[in-house]
């Protein structure tokens, strides 16, 4: 009986990871960059497993785990505050400004997450706002300020 429950719990968690991990990793990659974002996602999923009884019943587990990851990752930020995002390959330099990753890294974390989720990854406002646990209007503010800042950063040398 206990074995059946354990199997069912494990199965639920595996399904949860398969379903939610891409979204969680996307948010954390946008927030922390590639390397630290992965570590944060791993920590968050480990936390989800340890507290699965509670996480399984949450309406917005990704938003909760996003907050958990921010708490657990704070101690890793010392010494590597710079966000590392994938570089633009040289063959794509004609279609993507090679400075774009660096410009994204200079945004505030909230602005960068909003811009990456909505404009780069194509999430809806509602999806992004839910994952970030903010209102849609706040998300719009982050998007507007983030894109303005990007334009400033990337357009300075173009003019």
């Amino acid at each position: 009986m206990v074995g059946d429950q354990t199997t069912a719990t494990t199965g639920d968690f595996v399904a949860f990871v398969a379903r939610e991990r891409p979204r969680l990793e996307a948010v954390l990659l946008a927030h922390y960059g590639t390397e630290l974002g992965r570590e944060a996602a791993a920590d968050a999923l480990a936390h989800a497993w340890e507290h699965w009884d509670r996480v399984a019943t949450m309406e917005n587990p990704v938003g909760y785990l996003y907050r958990v990851a921010q708490s657990s990752t704070r101690r890793h930020l010392r010494g590597r505050r710079k966000v590392q995002l994938p570089a633009v390959p040289t063959e794509l330099a004609t279609t993507i400004d090679p400075r774009l990753p660096e410009a994204l890294a200079q945004l505030s974390r909230q602005q960068r997450v909003a811009v990456v989720l909505v404009h780069a990854l194509g999430w809806t406002y509602e999806e992004a706002a839910t994952a970030m646990e903010i209102s849609v209007s706040t998300l719009r503010n982050h998007l507007a300020r983030g894109t303005d800042r990007l334009r400033d950063l990337l357009g300075a040398d173009d003019d």
């Binding site: 992965r38 890793h76 990753p101 404009h119 334009r151």
Partner: protein, 120 residues
């Protein structure tokens, strides 16, 4: 400046494809890839295991051996197969007396009665 926005959005869309590739390269067993964060927990788990092992060893070592005058919990039964027929079942040694709880030792069996149950 506003005419730059479509270009920026287009670039962001293309850059999103790079990000998706990066996400697709995620470690499959990412939940098990604890790395830095797991180290304190691993150390804690190892410490708990060592502690439990030490406590267990200490309990085993400190367990008192059977006192010399202590009565055994069970008496030898007649079903013992280690005593060959004709072999004396019990000796009237002091240790044997202690084994019988200080009572007089049972009589030695006669060679013609190897079974101890007859002496009961």
């Amino acid at each position: 400046m506003t005419d730059l926005l479509p270009d920026l959005e287009s670039q962001l869309e293309r850059y999103g494809a790079l990000l998706r590739d990066e996400l697709a390269r995620s470690v499959p067993a990412v939940a098990l890839d604890r790395r830095h964060a797991s180290l304190p927990r691993l150390v804690l788990a190892a410490a708990v295991i060592v502690f439990v092992a030490l406590v267990g060893a200490a309990v085993v070592v400190s367990r008192p051996s059977r006192p010399a005058g202590r009565t055994p919990t069970t008496r030898p039964t007649s079903t013992s197969t280690t005593i060959a027929p004709g072999q004396p079942l019990l000796h009237s040694s002091p240790g044997c007396d202690r084994a019988w709880g200080g009572l007089a030792s049972p009589p030695h069996p006669s060679p013609s009665s190897p079974s101890r149950s007859r002496h009961r």
